[in-house]
Assembly symmetry: C2
């Protein structure tokens, strides 16, 4: 390795230790911290974030980075080394614009907000969370202004999650998507096919839920010896290292499939991406995921394209029946397949079917763009949210816990995150299409899981941040991101179920 880059890598690894610390603090915050411990945790997280920022933007680090940049400018670096320097520079330039005190305040505000969001959601009391959210919104606008005063605030924030994405681009994609989705949802709603979902209410034994979920994760390829499955209010994945990837799920007696199993498959999709990142580049951008959109394609691919497929359940349904014989007595594979692919308007994004899911995302994008842009106040959020749900789904939000309070993202200051979910669905369709073309046709499920994961390892995971998301999709699938694969996928799958 080029000497200047090797020195940079060692510095980055030291920083990464602080990053892993914050990852653990955050995972543990959502899984273990007791009620009275939130304030101490918030201060601890803010301290570690501050330490990270100070080290990353120190003149000592800058010197090392500049030397690596000079080596790059002299053309001495290979593409792996260039990736490290280029991406680090990009982060560095952004971070350097944020004063230490600003980072301290933002970290502390967000870390504190988590508890208020969780309590507000629990009690369905938006007022508990509103003042914290107001402060976060204000700080995120300031952050955007500091980072890039010439762009719109929301666009600057978007770039953090999906480098290169702008609200114009997102809007264009989403408009195209809506043009397909809205009439498609209508057609399905008017279909004469009716689905019985009553048996999904269980009751499902919680011990068995855990066991079944772990069995499924292991079979599809999530390595539980390099991962851990915990419990939290909002399922998520947090990586400490490719050998220690944490996912969480939640257990409800009256809903195993959506709340637990599909979440577990989804999060393990994220987890398998993290487990597959090149460990020899750990701590550097070469060892990091490309973007959140690409991350989400991994989770959505495993959750939907695999976990909700007919083939998947041909394989797992007999075992599911053995585990839960009482719940599933008399339920056929066909009824089960239809039930878990039932398209209907719903209040909760993470439980939404594949067809309506993107509409959940699109209206969040519309709302947060207005919120950050100053066209909507925090106090107006519940009203605006409920209006969108009425507009898109024709249903009424019964309480804020099932509406504006359902997602954790804004409490973490993550504005611009939601659009990556919709992109993830589109990427998933396009990459899945490419994978299928490469894989042999008639193979047994376990072999298929293995080959698919291998394909993802080779084509996506092992690449780290070597290419941008836009480059990656072109290299692997041969063309730019297009909504057509996703539309085709939905059309084929759901015409089969609903005859539309």
């Amino acid at each position: 390795m080029n000497l200047a880059v090797a020195v940079l890598r060692d510095k980055l690894l030291g920083l990464q230790h602080l990053g892993s610390m914050n990852a653990l603090l955050s995972w543990d915050q959502q899984v273990n911290v007791p009620a009275k411990g939130y304030e101490a945790r918030a201060q601890l997280m803010a301290h570690v974030s501050g330490l990270y920022h100070r080290n990353f933007t120190s003149s000592e680090f800058e010197t090392v980075l500049m030397q690596a940049q000079e080596a790059m400018d002299r053309g001495e670096l290979n593409e792996d080394e260039s990736c490290i320097v280029r991406e680090t520079l990009c982060d560095f330039v952004k971070s350097k614009k944020l004063p230490n005190e600003f980072v301290d305040e933002l970290s502390l505000t967000c870390a504190r907000a988590h508890d208020f969001w969780a309590r507000a959601r629990k009690n369905s009391d938006f007022g508990l969370f509103a003042p914290h959210l107001e402060k976060i919104v204000e700080l995120k606008r300031q952050e955007a202004e500091l980072v890039n005063p010439s762009d719109s605030w929301y666009d600057v924030l978007l770039d953090d999650f999906e480098p290169g994405l702008t609200s114009d681009k997102a809007e264009k994609t989403f408009t195209e998507l809506k043009k397909f989705l809205v009439p498609f949802v209508s057609k399905i709603a008017n279909s004469s096919v009716k689905t019985d979902r009553s048996f999904l209410k269980g009751p499902w034994d919680i011990g068995k839920q855990k066991k079944f979920a772990k069995m499924v994760l292991t079979r599809i390829g999530f390595d539980l010896d390099a991962g851990h499955m915990g419990t939290s209010l909002h399922p998520f994945c947090q990586e400490l290292h490719p050998s220690d990837v944490r996912i969480t799920v939640r257990y409800k007696k009256d809903d195993f499939v959506e709340q637990c199993l599909m979440s577990a498959i989804h999060e393990s999709g994220h987890g398998m991406y993290e487990q597959g990142l090149p460990v020899e580049y750990f701590g550097t951008p070469r060892g990091e995921a490309v973007s959140l959109g690409i991350h989400e394609f991994n989770s959505r691919l495993w959750e939907n394209y695999i976990g909700r497929s007919h083939l998947f359940w041909e394989y797992f349904f007999p075992e599911l029946k053995l585990y839960f014989s009482e719940v599933l007595a008399g339920v056929s594979l066909e009824s089960f397949y239809k039930a878990i692919n039932c398209v209907r308007p719903s209040l909760i994004r993470v439980d939404a079917d594949e067809v309506t899911y993107n509409l959940h995302v699109i209206f969040r994008f519309e709302i947060e763009k207005d919120l950050i842009g100053g066209h909507l106040t925090v106090n107006d959020l519940p009203r605006a949210w409920n209006q969108k749900v009425a507009d898109y789904f024709g249903i009424e939000v019964d309480k804020d816990a099932n509406g504006v309070l359902q997602d954790i993202h804004w409490s973490e200051g993550s504005f611009g995150y939601f659009p990556t979910y919709a992109l993830g669905n589109l990427y998933a369709a396009q990459f899945c299409n490419a994978a299928m073309a490469d894989l042999p046709e008639k193979i047994l499920p376990e072999e298929f899981f293995k080959l698919l994961l291998g394909w993802l390892r080779t084509n996506v995971h092992s690449k780290g941040k070597l290419y941008s998301a836009a480059e990656l999709v072109k290299r692997v699938t041969g063309q730019e991101l297009s909504v057509s694969y996703f539309q085709e996928y939905l059309q084929t799958k759901y015409s089969g179920i609903y005859g539309v």
Copy 2:
């Protein structure tokens, strides 16, 4: 607060954040880290330890500390402030003698050893652990030599856990103890009273174990809103902050009382101490526990003096019977009380009864003193261990997992820790005696738990490191530490059970 001390306190608080991080890393290491994640975790822990050491021994910190020391020397500080400066100085002087690279190596070696110890124990294969232990022993000798070349290695290490304790003092106390214990154990062994312990084998439902244990902890005063109960191989308590105190237990179907409940009460005794430390001094010695001996007195007091008392079970036994009606059908309170206080030779320290417990500690002290002193090699440990068990208890160790591999301490480099367990028992008897004299006589159990915890808060917890352990025992009980209270306690309790 004196300005120089306030500046010092702020610096200490920054350091404490790193300390809390390491506490979380260590807790999480034993509770959540997956098999393949151990190496990454070891490196992370070593990095944070190294960061702590570098900051603590930096010239910047030294300047701040020296200014506070000057203020102390000028007589400007009150006793709380003096405590902060005095105790910090004491740690600083020690730490300053350890080079950064030495601390890095020791931290990494110990963090790595945990996994090998756990696997060695699981497979009862001492050879897996031996090379790691050898390296640790060598490093701990080096540490002792660096810190204080004029004292014996073991004495220098002892001082870390129980400031002021020497092996001569420990030996004197233990000789006195043995003189009482050995014939006392004999007398009990020869007593005609026989105890039926068969029902303790359950089977105990694990869900109910957890629920019952949490109920008991809550009633005795461990605040689960400022604490968390997890699961690990070796039960322990780890404090991140007085508002976030972690304990762990373990669940076995065939042993609820010893393996889970008594452990939970023991660890919550440690936990209540941590929850009671003065939060306004968090991060400074004024907000820290005095010594491990005093810590252990809190845990042993709740576990034994309370948790194994007749009064305790008069209160809880009816509920226990409701929880586990099948296991305890036909079992009387008297039989239960005798069963959980049955004195018999045993292999596992943490499951030992109150009478033989200290003998477990004493022979560990004898072994580790020889080991550190160079009179015993690591390879000779299993043999030496088994010989001691034969000498003290007249029984044979069936496998190293139940012998030399049972305790985690040496894998963490904690030599000199064990003696504090025996001191804890002695302190517990003496402090308990003082508490009983202060508390009203005829009160209901819940009121008693509350008053006792209040007494501990006032007389012990709130004091932090204001006084040394030796001073504290004198101030609160009116005299120096004596073995007589412990002997009297055992004599009274066990003559009641065994008629000896």
